[in-house]
Every structure is written in structure tokens, then in C-alpha cells.
């Protein structure tokens, strides 16, 4: 982790984004839409995919590294490791599936736990609540108001997207990257905090 940081500092900045959410909500679809402008109709459960792309963020070259994780509970055990390496999180649910919306709370909690922050410092974790499949308005189970309310409660931004129509796809990624960059700038400014985070992390492990 330390080595990676050094590398990135020397060159363009690298932003590590983790896609989280229940199975079948469209994490991979969003990722592929963002990466390659393609919409995949076939559903194939993801294990763990890795993508990296050059982007221009605020007029500067940057790289986004997307880790598309498995939504299925089978892989829940290995999520911690991924979350640990993530710098920003897109927590995705499907507006046509209320259980996926319910799951977002668990994901949020797990992330905070892994990152070693409590609800007071939760704002330091770049996190975006994404309600996907906005094109399937007829099958909506989660109202925008409910979602917005929940986001407000958590103190995060809520965006509705459609991987199919590419609605708000770029927005969520770029917003998240913007948040990450801000957060990194804070870290650079206050060098103590990452150490704290590091020790906290080690403590839990040992």
C-alpha cells in the first residue's frame, strides 16, 4: 500500500473506487457503461473484476481504478480486504428491488467498520448512494423520497442512475472521484490522520 502511494504521487493520481451492493443491482453494468460505453444485457455474477482508466479530473490527468466486487453473500468474507484498499465507494441498489436497498445499510456499516470510522467521522469516507435502474420506473419499489431520506440520514449524496441509458453514470463516478480528491488533499494537509487510521486498522487485525 505504501509502495502504491509513492508510485502514484510521482505520476498521475490514482483513485481507487469500490463498487458495492447486493447481487444483480447493476454494479458491473454501471462499471462497464462507464468504462466502455457498453451495456451488458446478460447477467453473469461477478467475482471480482478490476478496471483502470485514464480520466481528466478538474483539468488534470488522473486514473480511476475500479474494483467491481461480488454482490453475492458467498463472497462476503473477502469483502473486508477489498474495502480496506478502497478510497471511495459507490453503494449501489436497484430501485426495483427493495431488499437491495435495505442491504445498503449493512454495506455502509461494514465499510465504516473496515475503515475504522464511527458515525461521527463517517463523512471522511467518500461514499455515494446510487439507485440504479432508473429507466425501469414502472417496476420501482424504492421511492426516490425514501432513498433520499435514507441518504440524508447517513449524510451522503443520493443519485439515481441508469446503466442502460447511461443516465448519471459519468456523474456518479466523477462526483465520487472529486470527493476522493478532496479527501486526499485533506490527508496531505493533516498527516496525522492516516497514521491513526493505519494503527486502528492494524489493531483490529492483531
Amino acid at each position: 500500500m505504501a509502495a502504491n502511494k509513492k508510485q502514484n504521487a510521482g505520476q498521475t493520481s490514482l483513485h481507487k473506487v469500490i463498487m458495492v451492493g447486493s447481487g444483480g443491482v447493476g454494479k458491473s453494468a454501471l462499471t462497464l457503461q462507464f468504462m466502455y460505453d457498453e451495456f451488458v444485457e446478460d447477467y453473469e455474477p461477478t467475482k471480482a473484476d478490476s478496471y483502470r482508466k485514464k480520466v481528466v479530473l478538474d483539468g488534470e490527468d488522473a486514473q480511476i481504478d475500479i474494483l467491481d466486487t461480488a454482490g453475492q453473500e458467498d463472497y462476503a468474507a473477502i469483502r473486508d480486504n477489498y474495502f480496506r484498499s478502497g478510497e471511495g465507494f459507490l453503494c449501489v441498489f436497484s430501485i426495483t428491488d427493495s431488499s437491495s436497498f435495505d442491504d445498503t445499510q449493512d454495506f455502509r456499516e461494514q465499510i465504516l467498520r473496515v475503515k475504522g470510522v464511527d458515525s461521527t467521522t463517517a463523512g471522511s469516507i467518500p461514499f455515494l448512494l446510487v439507485g440504479n435502474k432508473s429507466d425501469l420506473e414502472t417496476n420501482r419499489q424504492v421511492s426516490q423520497a425514501d432513498a433520499q431520506q435514507f441518504a440524508d440520514k447517513m449524510g451522503v449524496q443520493y443519485v439515481e442512475t441508469s446503466a442502460k441509458t447511461r443516465n448519471n453514470v459519468d456523474k456518479v463516478f466523477y462526483d465520487l472521484m472529486g470527493m476522493i480528491q478532496q479527501e486526499k488533499a485533506k490527508v496531505v494537509a493533516d498527516s496525522d490522520k492516516p497514521d491513526k487510521a493505519k494503527t486502528g486498522c492494524s489493531c483490529i487485525i492483531v
Binding site: L32, Y36, T46, K47, D49, R52, L67, A77, I205
Partner: protein, 927 residues
């Protein structure tokens, strides 16, 4: 490889990003090749996995990872973009090892399996690991693998294995107890301490306890070795170690043999099959022969069949091999069939010579037992005869059917027409008559036509088939059939030898054919020449066909027959047939010639007989009608026709060579001329015989013509005039036509021409006499008969009569009659006048003489009157005076008392002169 021209491939995505070897991954990125073939290779973690690349699009490739372990780049190499780079990495995970007895959901590559015995150390360590050294019951053992790589990254060298040299306790703990709570770990620590303490207390004992299985194993192994050694040594002592070994080896060999028995037997079978195949291949020719024979026969390549058969015969006929015998028998069977087929084909006639020759050659080539050539010849002979007979039967049948065809139509026409109109009844009648006549004519024409067709067909059969037959024989007998295709000379000699045996029979066959032909001709055209003596002959005669013979055949048909027969003869004699074969043909030609000659004569005779009806009695300036010239025309035409018949071709017997023919021809010939005379006779005397007009003459003139023909002048002719015309015609014919005609026939070498001339002359003379007498009877007798009554008219008495005042009227009447006769004859033929008048005057004078002599008593006046009468008559007819008549007149004058005085004489002369001057115009005709 060409230099890459496009942008290099970049891999920007991998799904999934880690996995065991052979995981299917989706590689995403840019410029990942333009097609499947453009992708030259893919390397994941440095391991080539090009084999499994499945190109989808320039931004997506499917691939399966190779056995690379650890993190590595994904490099795509394309033709268009060269070697690429990757922004993402793939992490290869080690394969979980699976024991041979464990179930596994994935396929395990056993080739990398290591001998388990060598793995014992590992195993034992595993055993020790199975029980946690901390004495904790770890439930999360299963997650070990997932975190493996991260841990490996963290610790690099080192191992989580407590038995390893580079044991890394943290790794061990992370791997096994990452989720274990601290208090538990503490408990574990305490447990370990306790254990360690126990170990140090009872170290050797515990060690032995722990390693008891190892000790047992070692002990077992050692005792096993010891036992084996003992056994070996024991065996050596007994000295039967080798025996045992041998028996063991034998047993092993036996078992091995047993094992391989099936394999070996299979091999044997394969060998035998291979051998059989070899044999089949080598003798393919023979085995395929039956099929090939069939095929070639169907294709018509008979030559190939025969060649094959020859070859097979020379190769396999002596064979002792059963299979070959069987196949060869099959071949023989086919060939036998083929032979039969050929025989049938040979007997299919008509067929051209070259074909027959070919077929015979084939049969000979097939080693036909008999003599196919000769059989073919005999068959052909039979066929020719049969076709001739068939031809005959067919034509006889059509000949019989012919008349039937025409019988219905006229009747139908009749019934229809009656209904239609009354007005046309007359025309209908005429039509009907003509129709019947036509039918009759058609009958005849049909018959002639049938005869013609028959003749044509028969001769065509003879002229086409007999030469073929003979040619075939010649080719056969001289061996040309074989030698022309270059067969062996010995075969040719054999054939010749065979043929020479048959030469006599062949001659017989040919003669038979010719005789049949001749007899068929005879039956049709010369039925009279076929003699029937007994039943056998009758049967034979019937076989030649019995033609309906009511109407004799026209001479032209016969002549055509002659010509056809001659043509036959010419064609056949050009074949150099054996001597004597054509004799009968010669004979029939001769007979036909004779018959046609006599028929020609007969027909001419008929025509002449028919001339009678054509007499128009129109007299030309020569005093003759058209009849003689028509007769002449007919005869001349006959001469020209007959000339052809009589002209003998070289080698032909002259027609008149035989005496019987001579007499017959003479007879016919004479009849030809006598017919004319009799025709004339009948013409003249027509009124007598046919005055009854209701009696329709049975001549060839059709009734229609008789009905519509204009009324001829003869109706108004007197019998006497006809007689004169007849005489005129006769004499014209005799003088101008007869002898030139006879000369024509003399030139044609007609026999007995002198005798014939005499006969004709006498015949004509006789007729002339007859005519003349008839005329005299008709004309002169009334004249002379009238003299006597005239003389004594008005009870004239010679004795008491007055002095004469002139010539008495009866003389004048007689003279007028004579003038009438003169005029009559003169109008027809002036040349005949003297002959007639002389006769008339002679007869008149005779009568006058008789009457004068009958006078019993005559006075002076009477005698003067008589003298005046007689002299007047004599002088008036002086121009036609004959010696007889003058003597008659002189005698008559002498019987009258002589003139006494000169005055009387003068008176007499005066009166005569007066008479002459009175009748000057009448008497001029006599001058």
C-alpha cells in the same frame, strides 16, 4: 510478421481479477485486435494462453489463464498493434491439491501428482496441522486460501507452516486465526505453554508417543525386509530358486499369452483378411469378371467381353483353387448366357453383313461348340424363305381384301342421292353406272397394284437378302470373318475346313432359295406352269400361294416381272454363285417372257377386236376409215413392246428357240391379224348381227360412253356402202400395211413368217371375196333382176312389137342403177370403181344374154329393138368392158336375127347416138 501500424493494445479491465489456472477471464481494453486472427497471443502472468483466446471485439477478449501463480500483467499481442500493455493485473492462485480418494468438483491434473510416499513428510506435517497447535477449534480454516496471496505479499519469504524452517508466526496467525478474538488467542498461548512444559518434562516419552506411528512403520519395514531376506536365503538353500523363478516366469508368460490370446487371434484374423484382400486385389480381374461381362454386354462392348473371357480361360481354366473354380464357373455361366444372346442376335434378321460377321466372329471367339457361321447361314436361309412366304401371304390377303373395300360406297351414295333430289335421277344413274364401272376398274387396278407391290417386295427381298446370304457364306468359307481382324491363322484354317464341309449344302440352300423365289413368282404370274400331279405336289403348290386368277394379269405387269426377274438374275449372277443355282431363274424368265409375249399379243388382239366399236365410218380421201391406221398403230406399238421382250440378254435362251413356243406364238400372231379381218367383217355386217339395239355389246366400251357418245354417221350408212368401205379398208390394209408390218415381225425373228404371210393373204382375200359377193348380191342382183320385168313391161312382145323409137327404159333404168353403184363406189374409193363396174357389167351382160336367149320368137322390129338396146348398153358401158362381158354382148347380138338393111343399120346408129346425147351427162361417169 509485418510491422504493427495501429495503436498498441491496452488492457484496462479483467474479470475476474484472480483465479486458479484455467479460469475463464474476460479481458477488456482498447485495440485488442481487429479479428480472431489478428490476435497473435495473450500472456497472463507471463504465461502464454494464446491457445484459449476467443476474440469478441476490439475491446473484449475471452481467455483462459495458464498456470501462472501470483500477480502479473495481461499482455495482448496483435498483428495490427504489436505488443500491448496492461493497466490492471491478474492474480494467479495455486491449485488446491486433491487426493486420489477425495471428491472434487474440478478436474485435477494427475500428471503433476507426486508419489505419495515421497509426500509423507508433508502429510505428517499436515496431520500435525490438522490439530491446531493453539488447541483452538478453527472454523474459518476454509478462508485460508482466499487470503493467501495477500499474506504472501505481506510476508514474502517465510511460511505459515509451523514445521517450516522459515516459520512466520504472524502469517500463521493471520492465516488461521484472523478472526479469533484476542482472549482466545491468549488461551491458545496458555495451551501452547502448557504443552511445551509437558514436552520438556516428558520429552522422550512424549516424543515416542507422538511419533509412535513412525516407529511402528519403521519397525514394519525393517521386519518386512528381514522376512524377505530370510525367504531369499531359504530359497537359495533349497536350490530351487531358479526353478521357482522359471516356473514363475513360465506362469507369467502363460498368463501373458492368455492375456494376449485374444489380441493375437485378432491379429491372425486381420492377417487372413489382409491376405484375402491381397488375393482379391491380385485376381481382381477374375472376381470382377462376371460383373464386367454383364456391364460390357449391356454397353455392347462384345469384343472386350470375349477378350476378357479368353484371358480368364487361359489363366484359370486349369486352376485347382476352389474359389477360382467357383468364380470361373460363374464366368462360364455368364458367357453361356452371352452366347445364347449372341446367337439370338445373329438370328435377328435383317441385319447388315458386317454386324453378322462381327457376331459370328464373337461366337467363334467364345469357342462356340458348333459352327455358328453355318448355323447363321442356315437360319438366314430359313428367314429369307419365310420372309418371301410372308410377303406372299400378305399380298394375297390385301389382294383379296381389295374388292371388298369398294362395294359399300356406291350403295351408300345411291341411297343418299335418291333422297336428295328427283331431278338428279338421271345423273345419278349415270354416276351409279360409272361408279360400278369404276369399282370394276379399281378391282383390276388394285390387283395390278398389289401384284406390283408384291413383285417389288419379293424381288427386293431376293436381290438384297440372297447377296447378303452369299456374301456371308463367302466371308465365312474363305475365313475372311476371322482373318480381317487379324485372328490366328490356325483359327482361320479351322474355319475354312469347317466351311468346306458345308459348301455342297450351301449350294443346296442357295438353290432352294432361288427355287422358292422362282416358284413364288410362278405362282403369282405363271400359275399354269406349276404342275400338280399328286397330293404332295398340291401341298407344295399351296405353299407358293394361290392367287385369285379371274382376271388375267396385264402384259405390262408380266413384263415388269420379266424385268424384275432379269434384274435379279443380273445381280445374282454378279455374285458368281455356284454353277446351276440360277438355272431355275433362267427358266422362269424364259417362261415369263413367253407368257408376256403371248399376253402382249393377246392384248393387242383384244384391242384390235375392240376397234370395231371405234369405227366412225368417216372415209378419208384414200377411201379408208381410221380403222386400218389404228390397227397399224396397235401393231407397231406391239412390235416396239415385244422387241424388248424378245431381245435376249447374254446367256438367255432366245424366246423362239423351242418348237412349242414357236407354234404357240405363230398361232397367237396369226390370230392377231385374223382378228383384224374378222373385226372388219363384223364392222361391215354389224347391222345384221346387232340390228337389235337393245342388245348391249359385251365389249370394253363403258356403258356411260355408249350412252353419251354422239350418234355416229354409220347409222345412216347403207349396208352396201359399208361393204364398199370394208373392201376399201381391206385392200388398203393389204396393199399398204400388211407387208411392212409383217416385215417388222420378220425382223424380230418371228418363226414361220412365210406361212403366216400366206395365211394372212388368204384370209384377207377370202374376206374380200365375201364382201364383194355380198355387195354384188345386194346391188347387182336387184339390177339384173329388174331387167326381165323391165324388158317385158307393158306386155312387151318381141315378136309383135313396133319399130323401135329409141332405147327402151329398162336399159336406161339399168344404166341408172349402174351409175348409182359407180357413184357409190366412187364416193368411197375411186380406185375400186373398175373392179365393181366390170363385175356389174359382166353380170348385166350375162342377164341380158340370158334374157335374149330366152326369147322364143322375135320379129324384125323386135330384133331391131333388141339390137338397139344391147348395143346402147354395150357402148354406154364400154369403159368397163371385160372379155366376158363383151363376149356375152356379142353372143346376145348373135342370137338376134341379123340386120337386113343398111337403112336399118343407120336407123339403129341414129337412135344410139340420140340415146348417148340424151344421156351424155349420165354416161360421162363411165368415161
Amino acid at each position: 510478421i509485418a510491422m504493427p501500424v495501429g495503436p498498441a493494445p491496452v488492457v484496462t479491465g479483467i474479470s475476474p481479477k484472480d483465479g486458479t489456472p484455467f479460469t475463464k477471464v474476460t479481458i477488456r481494453g482498447e485495440n485488442l485486435g481487429t479479428s480472431q486472427s489478428d490476435v497473435l497471443g495473450v500472456a497472463i502472468c507471463g504465461k502464454n494462453c494464446s491457445m484459449t483466446v476467443d476474440w469478441v471485439s476490439p475491446s473484449k477478449i475471452f481467455c483462459r489463464t495458464a498456470a501462472g501463480i501470483g500477480k502479473g500483467d495481461i499482455i495482448v499481442i496483435t498483428k495490427s498493434g504489436g505488443t500491448g500493455s496492461s493497466t490492471v493485473t491478474f492474480t494467479g492462485l495455486p491449485v488446491k491439491k486433491v487426493g486420489p480418494l477425495e471428491t472434487s468438483a474440478v478436474w485435477v491434473d494427475e500428471t503433476e501428482w507426486v508419489d505419495q510416499r515421497l509426500d509423507r513428510a508433508q502429510k505428517s506435517s499436515n496431520i500435525s496441522l490438522r490439530t491446531d497447535p493453539l488447541g483452538l477449534n478453527s472454523e474459518e480454516l476454509g478462508h485460508k486460501t482466499q487470503a493467501y496471496m495477500q499474506l504472501a505479499d505481506l510476508f514474502g519469504k517465510g511460511s505459515p507452516d509451523p514445521t517450516d524452517q522459515n516459520f512466520e508466526p504472524s502469517w500463521f496467525l493471520l492465516e488461521r486465526h484472523c478472526n479469533t478474538s484476542f482472549s482466545k488467542l491468549k488461551e491458545g498461548h496458555a495451551y501452547m505453554k502448557r504443552k511445551a512444559n509437558r514436552n520438556t518434562n516428558n520429552a522422550p516419552l512424549n516424543h515416542v508417543k507422538d511419533s509412535l506411528p513412525v516407529f511402528f512403520e519403521v519397525h514394519e519395514t525393517l521386519s518386512g525386509i528381514h522376512h524377505k531376506m530370510q525367504r531369499d536365503e531359504g530359497g537359495r538353500k533349497n536350490g530351487n530358486l531358479t526353478d521357482k523363478l522359471e516356473s514363475t516366469l513360465n506362469e507369467a508368460s502363460e498368463n501373458a499369452n492368455k492375456l494376449f490370446d485374444t489380441v493375437l487371434s485378432c491379429k491372425d484374423r486381420a492377417d487372413s483378411i489382409r491376405n484375402t484382400l491381397n488375393v482379391l486385389q491380385r485376381f481382381k480381374f477374375l472376381f470382377n469378371l462376371p460383373l464386367n461381362i454383364e456391364k460390357n454386354i449391356q454397353r455392347g462392348d462384345y469384343g472386350v467381353v470375349i477378350n476378357d473371357y479368353e484371358k480368364a480361360k487361359s489363366l484359370f481354366s486349369e486352376t485347382d483353387v476352389d474359389v477360382f473354380k467357383k468364380v470361373f464357373a460363374e464366368v462360364e455361366k455368364r458367357i453361356e448366357k452371352f452366347r445364347e444372346q449372341l446367337k439370338q442376335e445373329v438370328q435377328e434378321l435383317p441385319s447388315p453383313l458386317h454386324r453378322q460377321k462381327k457376331l459370328i466372329r464373337y461366337l467363334l471367339g467364345l469357342g462356340e461348340s458348333g459352327d455358328p457361321g453355318w448355323e447363321c447361314l442356315v437360319h438366314q436361309h430359313g428367314w429369307i424363305q419365310e420372309s418371301m412366304i410372308k410377303c406372299k401371304d400378305r399380298h394375297i390377303k390385301t389382294g383379296e381384301e381389295h374388292p371388298k373395300k369398294h362395294n359399300v360406297t356406291p350403295k351408300a351414295t345411291l341411297i343418299k342421292s335418291i333422297v336428295i333430289n328427283y331431278y338428279y335421277l338421271l345423273i345419278l344413274y349415270l354416276l351409279l353406272l360409272s361408279a360400278f364401272k369404276c369399282t370394276e376398274n379399281l378391282d383390276e387396278a388394285g390387283k395390278v397394284q398389289v401384284c406390283h407391290q408384291y413383285l417389288e417386295e419379293l424381288t427386293s427381298i431376293a436381290t438384297s437378302q440372297i447377296p447378303e446370304h452369299w456374301n456371308l457364306w463367302q466371308h465365312y468359307s474363305t475365313g475372311v470373318i476371322l482373318s480381317e481382324t487379324g485372328e490366328k491363322s490356325s483359327d482361320v484354317e479351322n474355319l475354312k475346313e469347317m466351311a468346306s464341309k458345308h459348301s455342297k449344302q450351301m449350294k443346296g440352300l442357295l438353290r432352294d432359295t432361288v427355287i422358292l423365289f422362282v416358284n413364288l413368282l410362278r405362282a403369282a404370274f405363271l400359275p399354269a406352269t406349276l404342275h400338280v400331279d399328286d397330293d404332295e405336289d398340291l401341298h407344295e403348290r399351296e405353299s407358293y400361294g394361290v392367287w385369285p386368277s379371274e382376271v388375267p394379269l396385264p402384259a405390262t405387269v408380266l413384263y415388269d416381272c420379266v424385268r424384275a426377274a432379269r434384274q435379279c438374275l443380273i445381280e445374282l449372277s454378279s455374285l458368281t454363285l455356284p454353277h446351276g443355282t440360277l438355272q431355275s431363274l433362267n427358266d422362269v424368265i424364259h417362261d415369263l417372257r413367253v407368257l408376256s409375249l403371248s399376253t402382249f399379243l393377246q392384248e393387242a388382239t383384244d384391242d384390235i377386236r375392240g376397234l370395231r366399236m371405234k369405227e366412225t365410218w368417216e372415209v378419208s380421201n384414200k377411201g379408208v376409215t381410221a380403222l386400218p391406221s389404228q390397227f397399224h398403230n396397235i401393231t407397231v406399238a406391239l412390235v416396239s413392246v415385244v422387241r424388248d421382250v424378245l431381245e435376249s440378254l447374254p446367256g438367255e435362251e432366245p424366246v423362239f428357240a423351242r418348237v412349242a413356243v414357236q407354234s404357240r406364238v405363230t398361232q397367237d400372231f396369226t390370230r392377231l391379224f385374223t382378228t383384224f379381218s374378222s373385226c372388219l367383217e363384223r364392222c361391215v355386217f354389224i347391222e345384221e348381227s346387232e340390228s337389235d339395239s337393245s342388245k348391249v355389246p359385251q365389249e370394253s366400251l363403258p356403258p356411260l360412253r355408249k350412252l353419251v357418245s354422239p350418234i355416229t354417221p354409220r347409222m345412216f350408212l347403207l349396208q352396201e356402202q359399208r361393204l364398199v368401205i370394208g373392201i376399201s379398208n381391206l385392200s388398203y390394209t393389204k396393199q399398204n400395211l400388211l407387208h411392212p408390218l409383217i416385215d417388222h415381225f420378220r425382223q424380230l425373228h418371228f418363226p414361220n413368217i412365210e406361212f403366216f404371210t400366206q395365211t394372212c393373204d388368204s384370209e384377207f382375200s377370202k374376206l374380200d371375196e365375201k364382201f364383194f359377193e355380198a355387195y354384188v348380191e345386194h346391188r347387182v342382183e336387184p339390177l339384173t333382176g329388174a331387167l326381165e320385168p323391165g324388158m317385158y313391161a307393158g306386155s312387151f312382145d318381141w315378136n309383135e312389137c313396133l319399130r323401135p323409137e329409141g332405147v327402151r327404159p329398162y336399159i336406161k333404168t339399168a344404166l341408172m342403177s349402174i351409175i348409182t353403184i359407180h357413184a357409190e363406189v366412187y364416193s368411197i374409193n375411186p380406185d375400186l370403181v373398175p373392179r365393181f363396174l366390170i363385175q356389174v357389167i359382166q353380170m348385166t351382160s350375162e342377164e341380158v344374154l340370158r334374157l335374149i336367149q330366152c326369147i322364143r320368137k322375135i320379129g324384125t322390129n323386135g330384133s331391131m329393138q333388141a339390137r338397139l338396146d344391147i348395143e346402147a348398153l354395150q357402148q354406154a358401158t364400154a369403159a368397163f368392158e371385160s372379155t366376158q362381158s363383151s363376149t356375152n354382148f356379142v353372143e346376145a347380138l348373135d342370137s338376134i336375127p341379123d340386120m337386113s338393111s343398111a337403112a336399118d343399120r343407120r336407123f339403129l346408129d341414129e337412135n344410139i347416138n340420140k340415146f348417148k346425147s340424151l344421156l351424155i351427162f349420165q354416161l360421162r361417169c363411165f368415161s
